[in-house]
């Protein structure tokens, strides 16, 4: 099961109200880049690809294995001969956002400095010029109220995207996110849906100080009724942005301050990823490493070292922080029997803690060793560079943990 579009081709058992419109496939994307109509990729986490028009199969397979932006990529070969186009992660987010705004007039953006300033990380650059000040709304500094305003707008038919300039600022909107965003669909007996996307950069940056280095996914994860996803590459950033906007559920999309300038080549064709699926980054045999967002890169760096030492780690970017993709994770655990979780949340009450519990409950019989969870220290992120480095998990610690697991 991959994206919303999967159901069109294959026979699926989904009887739930999965109301997607086949007309969506024929909508041409009116972007300036060359677009091939009616050719949409449906990418599955296990590497298989389904096409709606079945063109360019080989190209698509190449794309999947290059899901992680590595240095070797793109520099040697000339850009003209390769398929797709290269861009940075924040541009990929913008591209996804713009495509969705083009496609559906009800999609709008609200947040601080999203309009004239173009977004503090330039994700909404130039969109206000194109779509006007009401569709890309510069709000006053009142997170709780404008998030609530977004929720009210979502209840009455719009599809807003609320940007937290930094995820940490959304702590001020916790009232609205918990009570209204998460719960209103339920307390109204299903009468009102809240198709809102709340997004913004979070995570530990470069000496940004404690309050700008927060990981709100651990605070929001208990809220019933929301979905949480974390993007980590330009490819999944664009796909998840589009999926989040199209979803009728409230989705919180976690971006990371340090990943906005990652470069990758992404397909020209339109694609939407699944909000509930994890991403196989590197298949392996010895140990399952589960991670997300920025820690993916620390894991991949550790993986190089591990490979040199003779280990074969399987790396999965869980992407969906709520709910967990227990199928992908479970299959991996059943294969390797050892699990290492690497996250940026603090040790107490983080995503890793929940994931450890979920795996223990569901796959206990398959484990040869206790699950190791590497998290950030339970400390407000210090300003000093050295202290900050010791707060988050570093590749060397990951290597040590794998060696310990595989004894």
């Amino acid at each position: 099961m991959a994206t919303v579009f999967q159901g069109l081709g294959a026979a699926t058992a989904i009887s739930a109200s999965n109301s997607f419109d086949s007309k969506k496939f024929q909508l041409p994307s009116r972007r300036s880049l060359s677009v091939r109509k009616d050719s949409i990729l449906v990418v599955r986490s296990d590497g298989r690809v389904n096409h709606i028009m079945n063109r360019g199969a080989r190209r698509a397979e190449q794309l999947i294995t290059n899901a992680v932006a590595t240095k070797a990529d793109g520099s040697a070969a000339s850009t003209a001969s390769k398929p797709g186009h290269e861009l940075l992660l924040f541009e990929a987010l913008r591209e996804g956002l713009e495509e969705e705004m083009e496609r559906d007039l009800r999609v709008c953006v609200m947040g601080e400095d999203v309009g004239h300033y173009g977004g503090s990380y330039k994700v909404t650059k130039d969109l206000a010029n194109k779509y006007g000040d009401l569709r890309v709304l510069d709000t006053p500094i009142a997170e709780n109220s404008f998030t609530g305003m977004g929720i009210g707008a979502a209840m009455t038919g719009l599809r807003p995207i609320v940007e937290g300039m930094n995820m940490g600022f959304l702590l001020l909107a916790f009232n609205q996110i918990s009570n209204n965003c998460g719960m209103l669909h339920y307390t109204s007996g299903g009468q009102f849906k809240i198709p809102i996307v709340i997004r913004g950069p979070g995570g530990v940056g470069r000496q940004l100080g404690a309050e700008h280095s927060q990981r709100l996914e651990s605070y929001f994860q208990s809220i019933p009724g929301i979905q949480m996803v974390a993007c980590s590459t330009p490819y999944n950033a664009k796909g998840l942005m589009k999926a989040a906007i199209r979803s009728d559920n409230p989705v919180i999309l976690f971006e990371h301050v340090l990943l906005y300038n990652l470069k990758e080549r992404i397909p020209d064709e339109e694609y939407v990823l699944s909000l509930e699926e994890a991403e196989m980054v590197r298949p392996g045999e010895h140990v399952t490493i589960l991670t997300y967002s920025r820690m993916r890169y620390h894991v991949m760096q550790a993986a190089k070292t591990l490979v040199n030492k003779g280990y074969d780690p399987e790396v999965i970017d869980i992407r969906s922080l709520k709910p967990f993709d227990l199928h992908t994770i479970g299959n991996s655990v059943k294969k390797t029997h050892r699990v290492l979780i690497v996250e940026e949340c603090m040790r107490t009450g983080g995503i890793g803690a929940s994931l450890t519990a979920a795996i223990s409950e569901n796959f206990n019989d398959y484990l040869d060793a206790p699950i190791i969870c590497l998290s950030s220290q339970d400390v407000p992120t210090p300003y000093a560079g050295t202290l900050e480095e010791w707060t988050v998990v570093q590749p060397a610690q990951i290597v040590t943990a794998v060696e310990q697991l595989c004894q």
Binding site: M1, G148, A153, S188, N249
Partner: protein, 433 residues
């Protein structure tokens, strides 16, 4: 409590920290405002503000210095009645329905048919009826936990609300919301909120949608208005101020209706608020603020017409402070010991239903018999609502997780590779999460 607007250069002459309401010197004068039926006449002249709709500097000062524009208007003029017979009967019926419904709620609560926190609206009917009966079906209403009567006034059937209060599956929210969370998509009742202030941004969002539909989606005739009802306690909350700012900034079609009943549970408005005149806070943000006697449905209706008209014409928001009173305690669990019996008696003497009845009969709009017929009909409606609620089924276990997500794929993929929502038993909460 109505303050003479011209006197308000200095702070009020009482100490708010130590006096209790029965010792307070008479800034609250129970005998001054109660004489004529159409009690307080402190209202703004809207016309001048309509002309000053553009946000220019010199006009801004006109909006701010609103106290100078208060004009006394004798509403009870010769042959110029405020309402027709039909309107009068409609208003009467709506207020009687509100009162009868709430009284029945109290009865049912003490009989163990409903539980939890139930906040009754007795005494404040003029505000709900005065405003909501001017709305179209497409206009939205947002309220607080004291929302039964707002829902009923807006058109949600009494049986659906009663059923919701009994926690039955036929309730307007399938029994999942309860007393404090009345929602209706059909009648555009957007809640029902337990935390004070948290509904105001939602109301602002509904108003934003109305403006968006007109200006971005080019639906030229979309003039839907949103009403946000909330109390005096909320007016010290940040979300109130933040939304006044945004609504005025973007000229959203919203009316902020303050039901100032002077008490936030046991906290007197005067003890909690540095400047108790809430209507004055509107001009601070660039929108007109009006004070009206909330025990008089006709006055409320006049002010509401103007405020709703402003919003519909695209002239932006209005803040309306309705001086009103709740005859019962904050909730059915509140012993209501702090309020002065003299204060309660004063406002009981200004019962909006009695007042409207008197107006209708004195102005020969209808006979006593016609009004009695209405009361009888309403009694039957409320009885029927209780019977319906009693006879309705409790929610089935399968309902437990049904409405957590609009798109149930949000429950995720289980270990077997299937989406959890494909398991038919999943909504019962028995499947392993």
């Amino acid at each position: 409590m109505s303050f003479s607007a011209t006197k308000f250069a200095q702070p009020p002459p009482f100490s708010s920290t130590t006096t209790r309401s029965n010792e307070k010197p008479l800034s609250f004068d129970p005998f001054k405002t109660g004489t004529s039926f159409l009690g307080s006449t402190r209202k703004l002249r809207f016309n001048s503000l309509c002309e000053n709709a553009q946000f220019k500097p010199h006009h801004r000062s006109a909006v701010v210095a609103v106290s100078e524009l208060v004009k006394e208007k004798k509403l009870k003029s010769n042959a110029n009645l405020l309402i027709t017979k039909e309107e009068g009967l409609e208003l009467y019926e709506d207020m009687v329905l509100g009162r009868a419904f709430e009284d029945m709620c109290a009865q049912m609560y003490y009989r163990g048919k409903m539980f939890g926190f139930v906040h009754l609206y007795n005494g404040q009917e003029a505000v709900s009826t005065g405003f909501i009966k001017l709305l179209k079906k497409e206009d939205s209403v947002i309220s607080t936990y004291r929302d039964h009567v707002h829902a009923v006034s807006k058109g949600v059937p009494a049986r659906a609300v009663m059923s919701e209060l009994f926690g039955k599956a036929t309730g307007c929210c399938r029994g999942q919301g309860g007393s404090m969370h009345m929602f209706s998509k059909e009648h555009n009742v957007l809640g029902g909120f337990a935390f004070i202030g948290e509904g105001i941004p939602v109301a602002t969002g509904a108003a934003f949608t109305s403006k968006y539909r007109r200006e971005v989606l080019k639906e030229e005739d979309c003039d839907h208005v949103t009403l946000a009802f909330f109390g005096d306690g909320t007016c010290n909350n940040g979300q109130f101020f933040e939304c006044l700012n945004m609504a005025a900034l973007w000229k959203l079609p919203i009316v902020f209706v303050v039901e100032n009943n002077l008490w936030a549970i046991g906290m007197s408005h005067l003890r909690a608020t540095s400047d108790p005149e809430i209507w004055k806070k509107g001009p601070a943000f660039g929108l007109p603020g009006v004070h009206v006697d909330g025990m008089d449905v006709l006055k409320v209706r006049e002010v509401a017409k103007e405020a709703i008209g402003r919003a519909r014409r695209g002239e932006g928001p209005t803040l309306v402070e309705c001086e009103t009173y709740r005859f019962r305690g904050h909730s059915l669990a509140d012993p209501d010991e702090l309020r002065d019996p003299a204060e309660k008696a004063h406002y009981a003497g200004r019962d909006p239903i009695t007042a409207l009845k008197k107006y209708i009969i004195e102005n020969k709009l209808a006979s006593e018999q016609e009004l009695k017929t209405i009361e009888k009909t309403i009694d039957e409606v409320v009885e029927e609502a209780v019977e319906f609620a009693d006879a309705s089924p409790q929610p089935h276990r399968s309902q437990l997780l049904e409405n957590v997500f609009a798109d149930p794929k949000g429950f995720g993929i289980g270990p077997d590779g299937q989406y959890r929502c494909e398991d038919p038993k999943f909504t019962e909460g028995t499947a392993h999460v």
